[in-house]
């Protein structure tokens, strides 16, 4: 019964989304035709949209909760549970299993979208009624596509008869706490961008593109961006420790699918600030919202359509594949068409000089767009080529070569931007303010060349620029009263500092990593970086749904106390898979990373040992970036609330 109730909730939510769209469309039409129309019909139409949006979100959430319930109960008569879960699985993975598959993740997507729509309906009070209503209408239209996709092509509640006794299990690689929380984090990011996009559509439809709309959109862009940042950072760390190959970024299409919306959201975040505070870049901001939404759709669909994991996905399930393609074309095409027909009505905003904060932000936007373009082309090229019967793949060499130099240039712009004044500034003043960061850059460059010769160019530049950016990021705080500095200024400083920290980690990892690969015998010491690692023994281990071989390693650096590391090779039965669990020791100056390979007949054990100096800075930087975003968000929300209270107080007097 639970599954049927879930399906019913889903149908009801879909029906409400349709209603929400129709009400909004008629209401907005009437208001736009006669702005002073206060007739009962118009007010009722517009007034009904908010509650409908709230109930729609609640019903989607109910459907998701019911799906989680069938997973937790291991109801094998539900096809999705039978295919993706197993009754002997730890409960956390039964729970997370609800979205660790195609249908469930699409339901999670639309649930977050519905809840976000409800939140807009409840909290957004400062925009004109036509704009809010059009925004909710756009949201309903996006949600409708997903409901249709779920109901007609990917029903998560379908039954199977006869029900199997046990399910097929979840891919063991996904049985990791990180993976349980990773998809929801990314989806919140994707969906946040969709809401920002709905605001852009609402503003275009209501001809209301201006600072007020930018202020309404900004928290959603910021929120989405924070979650995307967290998701990408966590995903990178997950791949690093779980896959056991020692790398932290693969330029895998699935990674790119989350990077592309992040790049677009980063650009949008900066341009929306210009629009909100300086009333510039109006059309550009709306365009970026369209682009960012397109990227989050492409990201979702790339990952979820199966087009990436198999270029033959369309042949396997033509309905689903075509459905996805049609939705993509409708959404992106529709958004671009609306933009094209309405961009003429967007009035020009304020102007500014080339050398100014705005100018730097435009440069930031352009460079981010270039990187985005490069990643997009590299990711889609193999898929397009496959359409023409050519099999090829684009890998790290392409992305490093094409995106790396642009990214370093972006770092320079990033260092200069916050040091520039709004409206207009001078080259000479900028040069004076950049003197200290440039000196930091030069000192690090010289130090690295002296201490560690033979570092290749990109890491060397990376280290030097990281130092310069680090100094430049904190410069806006210089000479200020730190307690009275606004929270969003702190946010910017922390986020930019985070990029510097991350960049330093990446450069250090690629420049200074040491690795040792051996077939070791028990008792033989191995050297990797500053560590001496000894294999002391091997033992079998039993886990909840796996068994494993575990190597016991003792690592010693100089006179410091020995560290014990226990990398495993795990054997899963449902489904039959072998995974290797790396063992990592984290020290302040880096990580010792160990992987267990195969055991040969001669009593030797394959070991791969890495010493990765300051590799942790990569993810620490990511966390700082997200923290900076959070500080900005809190700062902005507090300020808006205060402003609203003040306005209300004035209205009373």
């Amino acid at each position: 019964m639970i599954a049927e109730a879930g399906l019913a909730a889903l149908w009801l939510a879909a029906a409400l989304a349709a209603m929400q769209f129709v009400l909004a469309a008629i209401g907005v039409r009437r208001v736009l035709a006669a702005p002073d129309d206060e007739s009962a019909l118009t007010t009722d139409l517009i007034g009904a949209v908010r509650p409908v949006a709230i109930v729609q979100g609640a019903l989607a959430a109910l459907a998701m909760a019911l799906l989680i319930a069938v997973f937790l109960r291991s109801d094998m008569s539900v096809l999705l549970v039978a295919e993706n879960s197993h009754s002997e699985k730890p409960w956390l993975y039964k729970f997370a299993g609800a979205w660790g598959n195609h249908e469930g993740s699409m339901l999670l997507w639309v649930t977050i979208l519905g809840l976000a729509g409800g939140a807009v309906a409840i909290f957004e009070r400062s925009l004109a009624r036509a704009t809010v209503t059009a925004t909710l209408g756009a949201q309903a239209l996006i949600a409708l596509g997903f409901y249709a996709f779920l109901l007609f092509a990917s029903n998560p509640f379908a039954r199977i008869d006869p029900a199997p006794a046990d399910g097929q299990g979840l891919n063991p690689l996904l049985q990791d706490p990180g993976l349980a929380f990773h998809p929801p984090t990314l989806y919140i990011g994707y969906v946040g961008i969709s809401v920002a996009f709905s605001f852009a559509v609402g503003a275009l439809v209501a001809r209301d593109v201006g600072p007020a709309f930018a202020r309404a959109m900004r928290p959603w862009v910021l929120g989405a961006w924070i979650f995307l940042t967290l998701g990408i950072t966590a995903g990178s760390y997950w791949a690093y420790y779980e896959l056991g190959w020692g790398g932290w970024w693969f330029w895998d299409p699935v990674e790119n699918a989350s990077l592309m919306p992040w790049l677009a959201a980063t650009a949008l975040l900066h341009s929306v600030t210009v629009l909100a505070t300086r009333d510039g870049l109006r059309a550009w901001t709306v365009m970026l919202a369209v682009v960012a939404f397109s990227m989050s759709m492409i990201g979702t669909f790339l990952v979820r359509s199966g087009i990436l994991t198999s270029v033959h996905a369309f042949a396997v399930d033509p309905t689903r594949g075509s459905f996805i393609l049609v939705l993509l074309v409708l959404y992106i095409g529709g958004a671009l068409a609306l933009f094209a027909t309405r961009v003429g009505t967007v009035r020009a905003g304020n102007t500014f000089d080339l050398v100014s904060r705005e100018g730097a932000l435009v440069a930031n936007n352009l460079l981010l767009s270039v990187i985005l373009g490069v990643v997009l082309i590299g990711t889609l090229y193999p898929i397009v080529a496959a359409g023409f019967g050519v099999q090829l793949s684009v890998g790290p060499p392409f992305f490093d070569k094409a995106a790396g130099p642009v990214a370093l240039l972006l770092v320079v712009v990033m260092a200069a931007g916050p040091l520039l004044r709004w409206r207009r500034d001078g080259w000479r003043a900028l040069a004076a303010r950049l003197a200290v960061p440039a000196a930091a850059c030069a000192i690090v460059l010289a130090a690295v060349l002296v201490v560690a010769g033979g570092v290749s160019l990109l890491p060397l530049l990376g280290l030097a620029l990281a130092a310069g950016l680090g100094v430049a990021s904190v410069a806006p705080l210089w000479g200020r009263n730190l307690i009275r500095t606004p929270l969003f200024t702190w946010g910017m400083v922390v986020a930019h500092l985070g990029i510097a920290v991350s960049l330093a980690g990446m450069a250090s990892e690629s420049a200074f990593t040491k690795q040792t690969l051996v077939a070791a015998r028990v008792g033989e010491p191995q050297q990797v970086g500053p560590y001496t690692v000894t294999l002391t023994g091997i033992s079998p281990v039993i886990g909840p749904n796996w068994s494993a071989l575990e190597a016991h390693l003792t690592a010693r650096r100089g006179d410091s106390p020995a560290i014990t590391l226990r990398p495993q090779s795990r054997f899963f039965t449902n489904p039959v898979t072998v995974t290797s669990e790396s063992a990592i020791a984290t020290r302040w100056d880096g990580q010792l990373y160990t992987v267990l390979g195969q055991i040969d007949g001669a009593g030797r054990v394959q070991l791969r040992l890495w010493w990765k100096p300051f590799v942790t800075l990569i993810w620490l930087g990511g966390a700082l970036v997200a923290l900076g975003g959070a500080l900005s968000l809190i700062g902005r929300l507090l300020r808006e609330r205060r402003a609203r209270h003040r306005a209300e107080a004035e209205a009373w007097t």
Partner: protein, 144 residues
């Protein structure tokens, strides 16, 4: 008028950025487009010497030879058209076995053999053989 001009300049810059991205990507792709090779491609297109590529195919039955150092293996990758001997130093992925699909990252040697720096085995026991060469583009980075 000033505002309109600035808008035109911005639009122009935007287009220039997109064009720059496309040019950058295409010039790099020209070098890297044939990043993925099947053994048969080598016969048709010649050896891509001096750069990192991926070689994909099936590990031939009985071809895996473990070397004395304990961490090197030699094996042969075939696609029904041609065969390429591969040497690899490292820990082979858990799903690396004979008669199964593999993608090797590395570079070709002048004699036509391949030195792999990384092996990617397909994480799927339901592997479908050769004619679906596209299948082999899949990597171990299975992120759901």
């Amino acid at each position: 008028m000033k505002a309109k001009q600035q808008r035109m300049i911005l639009a122009g810059l935007g287009l220039a950025a997109v064009a720059a991205a496309a040019l950058l990507a295409l010039s790099a792709l020209k070098d890297q487009a044939s990043f993925f090779y099947a053994p048969g491609d080598v016969r048709r297109q010649g050896l891509p010497l001096g750069r990192a590529v991926r070689l994909g195919g099936m590990v031939e039955a009985g071809s895996i030879k473990r070397q004395a150092d304990g961490v090197s293996i030699h094996f042969v990758v075939g696609d029904g058209v041609a065969r390429v001997p591969v040497s690899f130093r490292g820990i082979a992925p858990d799903l690396f076995r004979e008669k199964s699909g593999v993608v090797a990252e590395g570079s070709f040697n002048p004699d036509g053999s391949f030195t792999a720096t990384n092996l990617l085995a397909k994480h799927d026991e339901k592997y479908m053989p050769p004619q679906m060469a596209g299948k082999m583009h899949e990597t171990t980075t299975l992120k759901e």
